[in-house]
Every structure is written in C-alpha cells, then in structure tokens.
Amino acid sequence: MKKETWKELTIGTINLDAGNSVKNLTGTWRSGKKPQFIQDKCIQCFFCWLYCPHSAILVEGDEVKGINYDYCTGCGICSVECPPKEKAIIMVKEEVKLAEGGAE
C-alpha cells in the first residue's frame, strides 16, 4: 500500500475510510487450532456470533453458516459457548483440511 505524503493527508489527523480495518486479516495470528462448524448440529442460537471477539462467524441471511478464517484467531470461545451437547463447533488442529467456512 502506498503511503501518503504529508500533503496528501487529511488535515487534523482524520481517517475518512470508515471500517477499513477489514483489510487486516487477523486470521493470520491463528496457530495450533481452529474451529470447525458442524451444520447439522447447529441450533442457530447465535451465541458463537455474539461472543466471537474477531467477528469471524459467517452469517448468511439469518443463519450461522460457518467460520470466516480470514478473521478467526482461534480463541475457542465459540466452541465453549456452543450450547448443544454434541457441539456444532469443535476445535480441530490447524492442519486439518476443511472446506471454506469450516462447514461439514
């Protein structure tokens, strides 16, 4: 990314490009483990969405559809908070190959 010269910057230290941090892919921080989403166990309670610190739960329409690995840092909160006895999110080794979104 080309960095602005001092003349090109907006006066008064203002960033007008709202929400552009979505370009920072925090998923690169993940190490060791990642969540796997098991769709047919999901009761669509949205707790994973609610408690994910890095906005990494994929929601399409009004359904949780999986994990956005671009942002997921692998904290595991979603898995712990997933209510079904047989969890709809489990933590697996980073090496395990999963489809996009981690859905089974």
Binding site: N15, S21, W29, F47, V80
Partner: protein, 308 residues
C-alpha cells in the same frame, strides 16, 4: 426482547480486523452495546486497548463517528461534542428533530483513576451522554499495571507479588457507587455473559435523558492469565460468586438483576486466573479470606440497598 438473529442483521459499528488480543472481551461488549441504539451515535474514546487496537492509522475499525483526544478526558470530550450539538440545535443549524446519541468510553484506568474527575464533572453538569467503563481491572494497554479497580491480591506490574508482597494490597474502588452518589438518572453494572441484561441496560442508558453510566466487566485473557476459550464461563463465575454483582440504580432506586441460585466461593473466580496464582502460597492465605469477606460484605450491603 431482542433476538440475536435480529441483532446480527444490524450493521457492525465496530468491524473486524481490529488488533485486540485473541479472546479479548472488549469487542464482545461493544458488539452488544453499539446495537442498543439505532440513532446516529458519536463516540469519544479514552486512550487504552480499545482505542489503540482499533485505530492504527491508516486503518480504522470504526464504522461510525469516533474521536479520541487523550487518556483522562473521554467524558469531557464527549461533553464538548454534546454541548456543540445543543448549541447548534438552539441556533437552528441542526434540525430540532435530529437525534444524536453521545457515548464516552474509557477503561478502568481512564475512568476509575485518571479520568475520574472529568467523569464526575461531566455527569454532575448533566450532559445528555452515556459513559461506559469497560473494567478489565488493569492498565492493559500499557502492559498490566495496577489500577484502583485491580482486586485485592492480584499481581500487576506495579503491584507485583513477591517475597514481601501478596500482590495488590488494597481493596477495589467501588466506582459504580461513586457514580450513584452523583444522583444521576441511570447507573448500572453489567457483564457480557448476561447479554440480554447488558443489552437492556445499554438501551436504557441511551434512552435516559441526561447522564447515564454503565460499568461493564471486561475479560482480559492477556492480563488475567486464563485459558482464553473460557472467558464467558469466567464472567459467569464472576457473577455467581458475586465478585461482580449485576445491578442497576434507576433514579436512586437499586435493583439487583441477577441472584445466583447458589453463591459460589470466590475461590472459583480466583483459581482460574494466573494473576492470583501466588495467593495459594501458605503465607497469603489471609488474602483469600479477606477477599471472600469483602465480597460478602459488599453483597450484603447491596441487598440492603435494594431492600431485599
């Protein structure tokens, strides 16, 4: 009652790509809080983890109007924004019916300590603002120094445990009650694990005419030193042990919002966190006892205030 599905459909005001730690509790709090009003919202944020991790130029995680000026003055800064809003409305340069909400945000350092005076002044003057303290019990951004919100016995870098010390020697400051003493219309304590309670409190705060204050327990795996996947469980332990009681004070009337079925010993809260590890040494046993005693006293006092 709000449904999470519906909240999820709302636009994010704090978006992905921020630099807060793995398992951090701050973004969880603001996911809920920033959905509690649909009105335009302007935020003044004190220096601290939230501010630093969301605005590293040229990136920003704020999808809303946001301003930072310094560490100790989020309340004064947002009061200034609100004053201009009132002035321009009176002068007819902003339409009379244009509603904007004003939110000041600070950590416990920016609120209990260095920003206490500015907050006290702003709420005493009656600005129509909401102020939220995310209390992670420590100066997290600068690497874990004590604040007046750090609990008794916790090890922080400026109140470290050691051969001659069991960590922080003092009891936490009860900031929520200090705000209650300002006789403002709405004061509440909340925790993200009880999200509906938090959401309702934030809604009430935004709808309050005049100043409202929320003190919200904020998980910090980095400084509390616990398994980050367990954060929301840990917050549950905080309310079940009454270390962090959930209550609100509306126009002077206290109401406890959560009564644990069975009050858990504070030990459960303490043993889960590395910052208290040294308390299990024999010579520090008195701290555990004292900690429990203080929590019991506060809980009893709260019952009295709520006429339970």
């Amino acid at each position: 009652m709000a449904k999470l599905k519906d909240l999820a459909a709302m636009e994010d005001r704090l978006v992905a790509g921020h630099g807060m730690c793995i398992g951090c509790g701050i973004p969880i709090i603001f996911r809920i809080v920033l959905r509690a009003t649909e009105d335009p919202l302007i935020i003044a944020n004190a220096t601290g983890c939230l501010e630093v991790c969301t605005t590293i130029f040229p990136r920003t995680s704020w999808n809303i109007t946001w301003v930072h000026s310094a560490f100790e003055n989020a309340a004064a800064t947002i009061a200034g924004v609100e004053s201009m809003y009132q002035a321009l409305k009176k002068k007819g340069r902003i339409p009379e019916d244009k509603k904007i909400r004003f939110l000041g945000i600070g950590g416990d350092g920016g609120t209990y300590d260095i920003g206490l005076q500015a907050l006290s002044g702003a709420v005493e003057r009656g600005h129509d603002i909401v102020y939220i303290c995310y209390d992670n019990n420590v100066y997290a951004n600068t690497g874990g120094q004590r604040s007046s919100a750090t609990p008794l016995g916790a090890s922080a870098t400026t109140s470290p445990e050691g051969k001659e010390s069991p960590g922080k020697l003092q009891r936490r400051k009860d900031l929520t009650k200090i705000l209650v003493a300002h006789n403002i219309p709405y004061v509440a304590q909340a925790s993200p694990n009880r999200w509906q309670d938090l959401y309702k409190k934030a809604q009430k705060a935004f709808e309050t005419e005049g100043p409202a204050f929320l003190n919200i327990l904020c998980l910090c795996p980095t400084e509390w030193k616990y398994d980050e996947s367990q954060g929301i469980r840990l917050a549950q332990t905080a309310i079940d042990s009454c270390v962090w009681p959930l209550y609100e004070v509306e126009n002077g009337k206290y109401k406890i919002n959560y009564l644990p079925k069975e009050k858990k010993p504070v030990l459960e809260w303490i043993k889960a966190q590395g910052r208290f590890r040294h308390l299990f040494k024999e010579e520090n046993a008195w701290v555990l006892e004292e900690f429990q005693k203080q929590v019991d006293e506060d809980w009893e006092e709260l019952h009295k205030l709520a006429n339970l």
